[in-house]
């Protein structure tokens, strides 16, 4: 039978950890309310933005524009690929960070010229420890996403793309499919692709771009990328809080289970100790009588 003191110290440490997990659960459950609200407010924009861009790309005429450069002359192995990876600032969020990082690593294996732009401390530390090239000046937090921050990120990425420092840009993030289910998404941002064949198949005409397709795209693409990143940040943030909430809830629950079991063990050990000492006293007394 386990030592009473040992059990007591385990109970104590589990209780202490349970306090932490419980507090984190409460924090994330209050944060998630705000995150959900901003998600609900942004989802119409985010979805409409993507469907509208799809539609615009479907109807866009041929044009020479930097954001449409596919740079096919560069061979697949020499292409400079940028990945925007969105992780959390802190751990203890279940598999949330792990899933994103795993997906990013999986994609990075396909190519040797990778450039990482990591949002959030967890992913950053992970990749730095692994010795992967991480952009050092790309320091953004995943907390409370704002349009301003999304604009900064978009500016950096677009600038690098324009200067041919990046040939393809992808984003890895977590999307909330249902409130209970999150999924890692991998999406290409740049270069944009006109969908010529689909347009011809659907029999659409080219739309008119005022004043000119190039001028419109010059302004529209930065705006689109900014909006897209904003939506992605919001989505990821609310996923993070959700993941943390469920993880902490589970942790608190299993801590309670463990406490119950240990309580039983402790009582058993205590009773055994009492029984033993009674036996000792009684047998000692018997000895004296004789």
């Amino acid at each position: 039978m386990a030592n009473m003191r040992e059990i007591r110290s385990r109970i104590k440490s589990i209780q202490d950890i349970m306090k932490i997990t419980n507090a984190m659960y409460l924090i994330s459950s209050s944060k998630i309310k705000r995150a959900r609200k901003s998600l609900a407010a942004t989802v119409p924009y985010f979805e409409k933005l993507q469907s509208t861009i799809n539609d615009i790309l479907l109807r866009a005429p041929h044009m020479h524009q930097v954001y449409f450069e596919r740079r096919e002359e560069i061979e697949a192995k020499d292409r400079k690929k940028g990945y925007i990876v969105i992780t959390a600032d802190k751990g203890l969020a279940g598999a949330y960070n792990h899933n994103v990082i795993k997906k990013a690593e999986e994609e990075m294996k396909k190519c040797s010229n990778n450039f990482l732009f990591v949002v959030g401390m967890v992913g950053r530390q992970y990749f730095l420890k692994k010795g992967v090239m991480v952009d050092c000046e790309f320091l953004y937090t995943a907390q409370d996403p704002t349009m301003y921050r999304a604009g900064c990120i978009a500016d950096t990425i677009l600038d690098l793309f324009k200067k041919h420092n990046l040939d393809d840009v992808y984003v890895v993030y977590t999307k909330m499919v249902t409130p209970m289910k999150a999924e890692v998404q991998f999406q290409k941002i740049l270069p944009l692709e006109r969908r010529k064949e689909e347009r011809r198949a659907a029999g659409y005409l080219h739309a008119k771009f005022l004043p000119s397709p190039e001028a419109v795209m010059d302004r529209l693409v930065p705006n689109y990328v900014k909006g897209l990143i904003f939506g992605i940040l919001i989505e990821a943030y609310s996923c993070e809080q959700n993941a943390r909430m469920t993880a902490m809830e589970a942790a608190t629950r299993s801590a309670k289970d463990m406490l119950r079991e240990l309580g039983l063990l402790y009582n058993r050990a205590r009773q055994a100790a009492i029984t033993q000492s009674i036996t000792e006293v009684v047998s000692g007394a018997k000895k004296l009588k004789k």
Binding site: S38, L210, P211, R219, N223
Partner: protein
Amino acid sequence: MAKKFHLEIIASDHPFYKGDCESLIFPGMDGLHGILANHQEMVTCVKGGELKYKADGEWHYAVVSDGFVEVMPDNQVILLADTIENPEEIDIKRADEVKQRAEEKLRQKLSNQEYYLTRAELNRAINRIKAAKRHR
């Protein structure tokens, strides 16, 4: 009775308007654009400024920042922008403060990027103040 088209105005943080509309006028890259029903398919950008749309025979106003407009073939128009506000909601005092701060910042030496960001901020503040004052 003027012909109507379906208009959707969506800001990044909330859907602003969805419904029928007779006419839409917004600030474009090269001046104001007007859209009526059965407009040709078109894609263009919105510059920060004031837009108005006529719904139920009445003009409604809003302050927009950068975004874009798509006119779709089935008489649908979508306007997406970073922010859209009702003139009544604007806090003139705050906008004034932002304006002053931006002006002060512009007097100092700034990097190119900072300069453009501050300029944009200043323009936004001026637009908001203008629109709010006009509809008081």
